[in-house]
């Protein structure tokens, strides 16, 4: 954005504005775009989810407001705004007021590092991936504040559950990301996306692969396991259905949102759906190439970029449009999967959730970390790093060896872990039954 404004103001018009002014304007423009896009995504997601889940339950879903009910979220928004704001008598007023802000702010901040298309990252931090997850963990504090300030046992229970869940599932999420980070060798989301050029195989792993923007991580054994683990953890972080324990309405009313009404409740709702959007987006970015897709890289090569200042501005627009299209398509598909899971599975119990996270996902992602190390060693290391076996192998052979070994490791670990996990669960159930019969 800064580049475009710089080129437009100082280049085309020749006004010669100072750098800092252009920087300020570009930042403001970007922030405005994000602040407009985020609630719009939320509005669309509520509608999208309701329609899809309705179809899965043999219904139609909201179809009255506007054509096919497309204005339903706006009607809901109007309803939210006009509702009375109720603060419980015994609540801690300041904290009660601050909590929704603390929950919403990080989710909007997370947009700062999400690349929408080639060269369309609001802020290109070198540690953007870490930033994304660091900021997402702030909302746990907001949930805690909401639960405590409401002075309601359901709120507190919901907040406790939410925070315990988020803290537990951050670990497998981050561990599965570390595998990707190891392969790419960078914490920058942009370089992770750029790594995924190619066709089924990344052309960074195996140079010479034609670049169709399809060298996604999900096609490698390491990436696949990381994707599955990360997506499950993302479901837990976003409090989606198999893990919607914090707001289990059949148990604890609405969890930490119980005592909120009107637009404060709306803010929680907004935060939740924006977070879901971001989690789907980051899944698409990390494992499915983000804006990568057939044609984007070719178009972007013709466009005006810092490396290619003589390009054609039209290609900027085309590459951007195609990239955003691919990115949003993938994101929406992932949200469809989230809704699909919501339609298919019942809610877990809190102990099942903890068991699954700590005893299954974390070992799996740790093993995957090892696989990632093997992958890096086989595809990239040479004699200098002490990898003497692969000296003299052709890249294809090295890639093949890495693929087969990591596949074998991951499948073996998966089979073993499922066996152990199932056995431990069965044993636990048996012991509990025995205990019960002993006490009685």
């Amino acid at each position: 954005m800064y580049d475009i404004l710089q080129a437009l103001i100082n280049g085309t018009f020749g006004w010669g504005w100072p750098d800092w002014l252009i920087y300020l304007i570009s930042s403001l423009v970007v922030v405005t775009i994000i602040l407009v896009v985020a609630p719009l995504q939320m509005l669309f997601f509520t509608y999208y989810e309701r329609r899809v889940i309705a179809r899965m339950q043999d219904r139609i879903g909201p179809n009255r407001v506007g054509p096919e009910g497309i204005w339903q979220p706006i009607a809901d928004g109007v309803k939210m705004f006009t509702k009375e704001d109720i603060v419980p008598e015994a609540a801690d007023r300041i904290v009660h007021f601050l909590a929704p802000c603390v929950v919403v702010a990080p989710t909007i901040l997370m947009f700062a590092v999400v690349p929408w298309g080639p060269g369309m990252t609001p802020v290109d931090l070198p540690t953007s991936l870490l930033f994304f997850f660091a900021v997402s963990s702030i909302s746990a504090v907001g949930l805690m504040m909401a639960g405590w300030a409401s002075n309601n046992k359901f709120s507190l229970l919901g907040a406790m559950r939410a925070v315990a869940q988020m803290v537990s599932y951050e670990i497998p999420a981050v561990l599965s990301l570390i595998a990707i980070v190891m392969i790419v060798g960078s914490l920058s989301i942009n370089s992770i996306i750029e790594y995924q050029a190619g066709l089924l195989i990344s052309n960074r792993d195996l140079p010479g692969i034609p670049d169709l923007g399809l060298g996604w991580f999900v096609f490698t054994p390491v990436g696949f396991v990381a994707f599955i683990a990360f997506f499950i953890a993302a479901l837990a972080e976003g409090e989606r259905t198999p893990f919607d324990i914090p707001e289990a309405d059949s148990e604890i009313v609405a969890g930490y949102m119980t005592e909120y009404s009107g637009m404060k409740f709306g803010l929680f709702y907004l935060a939740q759906y924006v977070l879901n959007f971001l989690l789907c987006a980051i899944t698409a970015i990390l494992f499915f190439g983000g804006w990568q897709g057939p044609g984007v890289n070719w178009l972007y090569a013709q466009a005006i970029t810092p490396t290619n200042p003589d390009g054609n501005g039209l290609f900027n627009v085309l590459a951007g449009a195609l990239g955003v299209f691919y990115f949003l398509l993938k994101t929406y598909i992932f949200f469809f999967v989230m809704v699909w899971l919501r339609g298919a599975f019942p809610r877990l119990r809190i102990d099942q959730l903890m068991d699954f996270g700590w005893k299954f996902l974390i070992p799996l992602t740790l093993a995957n970390l090892f696989s990632a190390a093997v992958w890096v060693a086989f595809t990239r290391w040479g004699a200098a790093e002490g990898m003497l076996i692969t000296v003299g192998w052709s890249p294809v052979l090295r890639w093949l060896a890495a693929f087969i070994i990591t596949l074998a490791i991951n499948i073996g670990v998966y089979l073993w872990l499922t066996q152990v996990y199932a056995a431990s669960q069965a044993e636990r159930r048996r012991v509990e039954l025995e205990e019960l019969s002993a006490t009685l």
């Binding site: 904290v95 660091a134 900021v135 963990s137 746990a140 504090v141 925070v163 006490t439 009685l440």
Partner: protein, 216 residues
């Protein structure tokens, strides 16, 4: 640009100091914890200002995202959260203030005296780059600071195992939480097996009362 950085630093520093002061002066323990989180944030911002992005992000991730949540958890398990009617200051607080100031001055005075208040000159060529980015940090951990890194790792593992050992109870000794139905069933079974034990005293009037209610 320098001025902007100075102003920003001033704002952040004041924010951190105010937050830190509030942590120790606020009566409500939860509010104190929240002020502590604000303080952590300020420190993170300070790192950002020093262009140590990685450290800033990690500060937020670990202190704001994890440590503060643990603190909040711990506080919520305590009593007297609101702290009403709790004295915050002892009678001899001026003495404490004097000692604290003295200690603080002992640490800070040499620094204040010896500091030239100059930005250090650019390091001569050949000095290693300051460790800031994740890649450099990682290399540092597995080369220069390998022993420290390993020791910390062992320490954390021991802490983890210790936590499990403390939290773990023998299954046989664990008091199982029974449901109401199970409890009643248990009671009934006990009464049956040991008829010498007199029936619970409080059970009797309850039964009578319910009967009389039904008769009415």
């Amino acid at each position: 640009m320098e001025v902007v950085v100075q102003i920003t630093f001033g704002v952040i520093a004041v924010f951190i100091l105010v937050a830190a002061a509030m942590v120790v002066s606020v009566r409500n323990v939860i509010h104190a914890a929240l002020w502590l989180i604000a303080c952590f944030f300020g420190v993170g911002a300070l790192y950002m200002l020093l262009e140590a992005e990685f450290l800033a992000v990690v500060q937020v991730l670990i202190y704001v995202g994890a440590v503060s949540v643990l603190i909040l958890f711990a506080i919520m398990l305590t009593r007297q959260i609101t702290g009403e009617g709790v004295r915050q200051l002892t009678n001899r607080w001026p003495v404490v203030l004097a000692i604290a100031t003295l200690l603080f001055a002992t640490v800070l005075a040499p620094t204040l005296i010896n500091q030239q208040w100059n930005v250090p000159p650019a390091p001569p060529l050949g000095t290693p780059e300051p460790i800031a980015g994740p890649a450099e940090l990682g290399r540092g951990f597995v080369n220069e600071f390998l022993i420290q890194f390993q020791v910390v790792g062992v320490l954390l593992t021991v802490a983890l195992i210790g936590a499990i050992v403390i939290a773990y109870e023998e299954r046989a000794r664990r008091r199982k939480v029974l449901t109401l139905a199970e409890e009643l069933e248990l009671k009934r079974l006990r009464e049956q097996t040991s008829p010498t034990v007199p029936a619970p005293v409080e059970a009797e009037p309850v039964v009578q009362e319910s009967r009389s209610a039904s008769e009415r």
